[in-house]
């Protein structure tokens, strides 16, 4: 099927959706049922790769069967699952899916604007093909609203629309569980960043040694990909890049952006922002950080095509110019509320004297800046790279010239592929900060009970798990059907059983980890089977001999597969 017919179908589906409410009351009156709803398939990651998700899918299928639906759960290896969901968008009914937290997602704009955007139905984020112009209007308005209070109102409204329409059936916000040795690090100096947890810039900057040990020894469960300020290579890599390269702003422990390498950030008018650089900053090679470096850092991804992953983050900048030797003026194409978080707190400041020659050397070649691995990376952040082997160990040293010098001497990241071994290494001192834990949280809390020095911190994630119904296919094009399915899900049980209690029930794309933006009470959607059945009945769905049928006159157009 070509892309154009696909989008036309999506549009037809959405227009049919808007007609339905007017039609159905009459349909509900009539007693003759439509076709029996085919057997529905819920895709999930395979049990071995994600036991929690798979178990959650089983729980969901059980409760939907009580509504009279035939539901199959099919576990697939992740790459295959991604392939089906992203590249074969008409071929599946529903899938378990997740969105993960990242510091720049501390601003709700990315999820609000991208997830349900009609422009991304064919190839982008909106793989479920939800198309609601009313929602998109709000999503558009909130990103241009630079008054924070007014913007919050819009975001509350957006969350209400999504709650009503249930384009996603949100399940839980998982909690990230990490731990550290409090005989090595003073607990009051370990910072829990909202939505991110204790493994964050603020902990690495401010953690204070409790005794003689002054090296923080962290772990990662897989190899690093690169140490490169112009390449968004992976989650683990970002822990390192955000320590080595500085940023004009940083997302603070409260989830809100604050000036950092910039002393002051002023919104002059909706599209003009002035940034005053903090005085006396130096690159790791001793040269001073200048406004030219700052301008270069924001221009390089926009103009050279050599840093494709950062390009979208500077796409809204019309011009960036130095107005004096400490001030840089950004002029935007359109007003953007998220600019501080998703651009100023995102783009790494890179030294022009290092990267301008590299980028020049790449001109006319197929390679881009992402293939460049500096032997000695040069940033202006609180840590310097001492040495690294991407598959084995990364050693950073505190930068003595930094204006807020880290309290530790070195930050060491070890690649430990065996989760069980990493757990055992913590009380033995082979690690003193468990920064990557992918095992059962209960094992970790049990271990901490036996070792009073080990402190465990669980943080609610900015990301969330959900069921994505494919709205290109009936009956998922009917919002009331989706809502009924959603009401049948017992999220409390799911959080307790599948996630061992390390998750919070979810019903919004804005996590409670962003307390300023999350609408109070939105996540209180309680499981209610009888309400779900009532809703289906009102929408005209009929149960015949225990099996759910479409409303009168509705034909099943898809084969059970």
């Amino acid at each position: 099927m070509t892309a154009t017919t696909l989008s036309r179908r999506a549009l037809l589906a959405s227009s049919a959706l808007s007609l339905l409410p007017a039609l159905t009351p009459r349909l509900a009156m009539a007693a003759t049922p439509g076709d029996k709803i085919r057997k529905l398939t819920l895709l999930s990651a395979a049990q071995a790769s994600d036991p929690q998700e798979f178990q959650a899918a089983q729980l969901i299928a059980q409760s939907w069967r009580q509504l009279g639906l035939d539901v199959d759960v099919r576990g697939l290896p992740r790459p295959q699952l991604s392939d089906v969901v992203w590249n074969n968008r008409t071929k599946w009914d529903m899938t378990m899916w997740r969105m993960v937290g990242r510091p720049e997602r501390s601003d709700p704009d990315e999820f609000t604007f991208n997830l349900y955007n009609p422009a991304t139905i064919e190839t982008g984020y909106n793989f479920i093909a939800y198309n609601n112009p009313d929602f998109q209007k709000i999503a558009q308005a909130q990103r241009a609203e630079t008054d924070r209070e007014a913007r919050r109102k819009l975001l509350y409204e957006a969350q209400d629309v999504i709650n009503r329409d249930q384009p996603y059936l949100f399940l839980v916000y998982p909690k990230n569980v990490l731990a550290y040795d409090q005989s090595v690090w003073k607990p009051e100096s370990v910072v829990e960043q909202s939505g991110i947890g204790i493994r964050c810039f603020w902990t690495f900057l401010r953690a204070e040694p409790a005794g003689a040990k002054r090296d923080m020894i962290c772990n990662a469960a897989e190899s690093m990909i690169a140490i490169n300020p112009l390449y968004i290579s992976g989650a683990i890599d970002s822990w390192v890049t955000e320590l080595v390269w500085d940023r004009l702003m940083r997302v603070g422990p409260d989830g809100l952006p604050q000036p950092w390498a910039a002393e002051k950030v002023t919104q002059v008018d909706p599209t003009t922002i002035d940034v005053v650089l903090r005085a006396g900053q130096k690159w790791h090679d001793g040269k001073p950080v200048t406004v030219e470096d700052v301008v270069f850092s924001f221009e390089a991804p926009a103009t050279s095509d050599k840093s494709p992953m950062y390009k979208p983050f500077v796409g809204n900048i019309a011009s960036v110019k130095a107005t004096d030797d400490r001030t840089v003026r950004f002029v935007l194409k359109t007003p953007s509320a998220a600019f501080t978080t998703s651009t100023l707190a995102k783009i790494n400041l890179v030294p022009k004297h290092v990267w301008a020659p590299i980028l020049k050397g790449l001109e006319g070649k197929p390679e881009n800046a992402e293939t460049v691995q500096e032997e000695q990376p040069v940033g202006s952040g609180p840590f310097k790279v001492a040495r690294f082997k991407l598959n084995e160990e990364i050693v950073l040293e505190a930068n003595p010239d930094y204006w807020e010098k880290p309290k530790m001497d070195r930050w060491i990241l070890r690649i430990i592929t065996n989760t069980g071994a990493a757990l055992g290494m913590l009380p033995r001192g082979e690690l003193n900060f468990l920064t990557d834990y992918r095992g059962d949280p209960k094992l970790l809390t049990d271990m901490a009970k036996q070792n009073p020095n080990i402190s465990v911190v669980a943080t609610t994630d900015m990301g969330f798990r959900f069921v994505a119904p494919n709205e290109r296919r009936q009956p998922f094009d009917d919002a009331r059907f989706r809502r009924a399915l959603s009401l049948a899900i017992n999220r409390q049980l799911m959080a307790a059983a599948a996630w061992n209690g390390f998750a919070t029930p979810a019903n919004s794309f804005v996590s409670p980890a962003l307390p300023y933006w999350s609408k109070p009470g939105i996540n209180d959607l309680k499981a209610d089977m009888s309400e779900a059945k009532k809703l289906l009945e009102e929408a005209g769905y009929v149960v015949v001999r225990g099996k759910l049928h479409y409303p009168e006159g509705v034909k099943e157009t898809l084969d059970a597969s």
Partner: protein, 324 residues
């Protein structure tokens, strides 16, 4: 020397076949290979650029020709994930794997040979009754499980040995040699090498046992007995020495196989070697890296096989003659 030339041609053919199988294997696996390095947020143009960069937009036969051409020039491509030449990445970790394998094999063969000889010598006794099932059990036990038990005992329980990696955190050495020769490296090597040795010792033990049993029936052993030599001398000096021949081949082949088979042990002990690199490459659909690792393993295996053949001919001239 026609035999040598024939063997070299055979080796080249085997390597070509392996290269082809490896190429096809990765293209036929489920899932879009590009999913591993194309972020969903990329624009369509960006996705196409990445596909073109890695040659994935060409038809399969063309991809194959590009691939073979690159191999002949010693170019194994860029890692999808780390965007670095894969050969360098593989060569960086190769010494760790070779050392682990060699240490484990030496322990396994020293211990296994002795045990095998003893089992044969004490045929029918209680020693044999206990040791044969024990050897079979250790051979059959999953390496992962053995590794975790070793960790539980020697690292987490007794605290004698470190539990992962190749060095203590943050250790710095003047050179790679200093690092490999340090006591620190040796301590980290101990548990993975022992775990691997426990798995590997079964083969030499059983091989030595049956080989000894054969030799013990030979006339020169009876002759030695008749001469009144002490049992221990007969066993070690006469019987065992002659029974060693098949073990030479087994050692050479074992080395080749083990280089590729260290995936489990290297992951359990976070040992930065080829097996771990390979496992990560496969998990991330990093084709060039996995291909390079596979080919290198095949190369070691074929070379060791060749070496075993040559050694065999040297040790037992009858074998070489037989080939004509």
């Amino acid at each position: 020397m026609p035999y040598l030339i024939r063997r070299l041609l055979q080796m080249a053919f085997v390597l070509w076949a392996v290269a082809t199988i490896v190429f096809l294997m990765f293209r036929l696996m489920p899932g879009d290979p590009s999913a591993a390095f194309i972020d969903p947020t990329f624009t369509v143009e960006q996705q196409q650029a990445v596909r073109a960069q890695f040659g994935l937009d060409r038809p399969l036969p063309q991809q194959y020709l590009i691939y073979l051409g690159n191999l002949l020039h010693g170019e194994f491509g860029l890692s999808f994930r780390q965007r670095q030449p894969v050969l360098g990445m593989v060569l960086e970790v190769l010494p760790n794997t070779l050392l682990l394998t060699l240490t484990a094999l030496l322990i396994a063969y020293a211990f296994g040979t002795l045990l095998g000889a003893l089992m044969a010598w004490k045929r029918g006794g209680r020693f044999e009754a206990i040791s044969v099932p024990l050897v079979l059990t250790t051979r059959a036990a999953p390496e992962f499980w053995v590794g975790m038990v070793m960790l539980a005992i020697f690292a987490f329980g007794l605290g004698w040995l470190p539990s992962g990696g190749a060095n203590v955190a943050g250790a710095q050495y003047a050179s790679e040699w200093d690092r490999i020769l340090s006591l620190d490296y040796l301590r980290h090597l101990a548990l993975p090498a022992l775990t691997l040795a426990i798995y590997l010792q079964g083969l030499p033990a059983l091989l030595m046992r049956s080989s000894m049993l054969e030799v013990m029936r030979e006339e020169f052993v009876t002759m030695a007995r008749m001469k009144g030599l002490p049992e221990r001398t007969i066993m070690l000096r006469h019987a065992a020495r002659n029974a060693l021949l098949p073990l030479v081949t087994a050692f050479a082949l074992g080395f080749g196989q083990s280089v590729g088979g260290n995936v489990v042990v290297e992951n359990v002990f976070s040992w930065p070697g080829l097996g771990r690199l390979l496992a990560e490459a496969i998990a991330n659909s990093d084709y060039p890296l996995a291909q390079c690792a596979f080919l290198l393993i095949a190369l070691v295996l074929v070379l060791m096989n060749f070496l075993a053949d040559l050694l065999y001919g040297l040790l037992d001239p009858r074998v070489a003659h037989g080939r004509g």
